[in-house]
Symmetry: C2
Subunit: 322 residues, 2 copies
DNA sequence: CTGAAAGCGCTTACAG
DNA sequence: CTGAAAGCGCTTACAG
């Protein structure tokens, strides 16, 4: 590996001059800079970032802790966040949750973002996270103790979904999924705000996977009192539920309306293009990138940042047939 | 940030002793080690990996260059690879292709893996890759100049698919997708090996996305001479094609059989559980992890490693109705 | 078994 | 405008 000293020798200057030339130090005479850059170029010199980082104390890397990669939502967000961070001069490294925080405390990234979607051991993470002693925040949570965070106002999202369904004449609106307290709570409050009755039987148990959604519908005993519309907990659950509804012979949206949480591009590729609620993923990525950069620069920030989910109309909701 | 020197002071030993204790150097007296570890623990000492890396020249990080995150195949493989590398004591960082190689040459990872699925500018990548001057290999390619690689024998996979369909009585077997030379070639050769005729019209143009597969079928003029079975280029194309077939009123597999390339877990969640061909993703991840570790250790390796795709029977293929 | 010292490849006041 | 020197936080022969 060729180093700054080699370049110095070849260019006939001191190595501190090389360092300055490479870093665009204005104190360096243009001619000298040219010469140094030419030599560096010629010998394919690559700065050793490790050494630079050790010296400056900064790595220009931001860590992103993810629960898992299997939900399309996560990979989608990772991709967008990567793009936004790159625009701002940072590299992003992805680490899977089970060891994410530890890794960052070792790697000394400049900052880190914890995606708090449905972490199993959330408490433990928050605790570790708070001791991390570097700029970091929690993304997509409802609230976080001891950390700045970007909140997605999921309750408001659910309100929009319920409101939309009610405006189509639905009065028995079900919810598929019981693993996320905030969404379930949002669903209940939305019913209340719109003057609809809450019915325990209209909440179908499902955790987070496609199968969960699928079996939630399959195991539901449909009857005269069953919902005429459902809201799915997330993209996977909703798609699983849609499949089960179709297999059971229901037409969506003619017989039953369906709204899915998460506005992923591929929600429109479902058998019936799905109406969704969810935050704009682009907005999420932009806000996340800006917040972490501000935190690193120790700028004044207004936290929590709150992002409002939107209703995205497609073909899976229709007027309720009485 | 607390350093090795702080610990040394607190424990009443020299900082080189602290370093050794922390690294499990057998020359250190157990009692001393205990003491040091206790102090380190008490003060939440975290080793600065940057400094260690600078000193040892190794980072214990492996870079994985990906084309994109949007194809479920890629995120799936990333997840598995991460797991396998972790078992072997390495961190994995993911970088998106457009700047991946440059990043690694700066970050000085210990090794890197290039996922060569359908890179647009493959030539450029290979070239950069070869100059990288660190252990690295190309994963999933058919062949690579100047680098070790893990080959997926896609031609053999296509042969298995064609053979299976022929055994079910199909003689007009179509292929959806024309963006991957190797697969297309494999398809042609498989027809030849099984004694079936190649028909230009049975190759439907599609690049790689869900929509590509969907529109390939929609735009196909079905007639008496049309294929009674199709093989889809990848997971997305196949699922898009399936949707289009169903929408056009064909029953799969009663009217038309369909086999998809890529054995992702969710291929079974398609409207009809899809019969697939493709390498075992677990095997792929294990082989990749072992190869990079061997390369880093400068061990003797047998390259290329060749992985054989398998046929995974589900419900999308059936006897051809004459 | 322990410690002093050199070195990893940079950056950055500081002196000239 | 340029260079000598100290320092970033570790590891690792080497001496004792």
């Amino acid at each position: 590996m060729i180093t700054i000293k080699d370049i110095a020798k070849l260019a006939g200057v001191s190595y501190s001059t090389v360092s300055k030339a490479l870093n665009d130090d204005p104190a360096i005479k243009p001619a000298t800079k040219q010469k140094v850059l030419a030599v560096a170029e010629k010998h394919q010199y690559r700065k050793n970032m490790l050494a630079r980082q050790l010296s400056t104390g900064r790595s220009n890397i931001i860590g992103f802790v993810l629960d898992e990669l299997s939900n399309p939502l996560f990979s989608n967000i990772s991709g967008r966040l990567h793009t936004e961070l790159k625009k701002r001069g940072y590299q992003m490294i992805l680490v899977v949750a089970d060891d994410g925080v530890d890794v960052f405390s070792q790697l000394r990234v400049d900052g880190c973002i914890l995606w708090d979607y449905a972490l199993d051991n959330r408490e433990m993470f928050w605790k570790k996270f708070a001791t991390l002693n570097m700029p970091c925040f929690v993304l997509g949570t409802d609230e976080a103790p001891n950390s700045p965070y970007i909140k997605i106002d999921r309750k408001e999202g659910l309100f929009k979904a319920v409101e939309h369904l009610k405006s189509l004449g639905h009065s028995r609106i079900g919810f598929i999924g019981n693993s996320q307290h905030v969404k379930l709570e949002g669903y209940r409050e939305a019913l209340q705000r719109t003057g609809l009755a809450f019915n325990e039987d209209h909440v179908l148990p499902a955790h987070s996977s496609w199968e969960d959604g699928y079996f939630a519908i399959r195991n539901h005993a449909f009857g005269a009192d069953s919902p005429t519309a459902f809201i799915g907990l997330n993209n996977l659950v909703t798609r699983g539920a849609l499949r089960a509804l179709l297999e059971a012979g229901y037409s969506v949206p003619r017989d039953i309306s369906l709204i899915g949480y998460d506005d992923l591009p591929d929600m429109q590729y479902a058998e019936v293009a799905l109406t969704t609620i969810g935050p704009s993923l682009d907005e999420l990525a932009v806000q996340a990138a800006e917040l972490i950069v501000s935190l690193i620069r120790d700028e004044q920030v207004d936290v929590p940042v709150v992002i409002q989910p939107k209703l995205n109309l497609r073909n899976s909701t229709a007027m309720c047939r009485q």
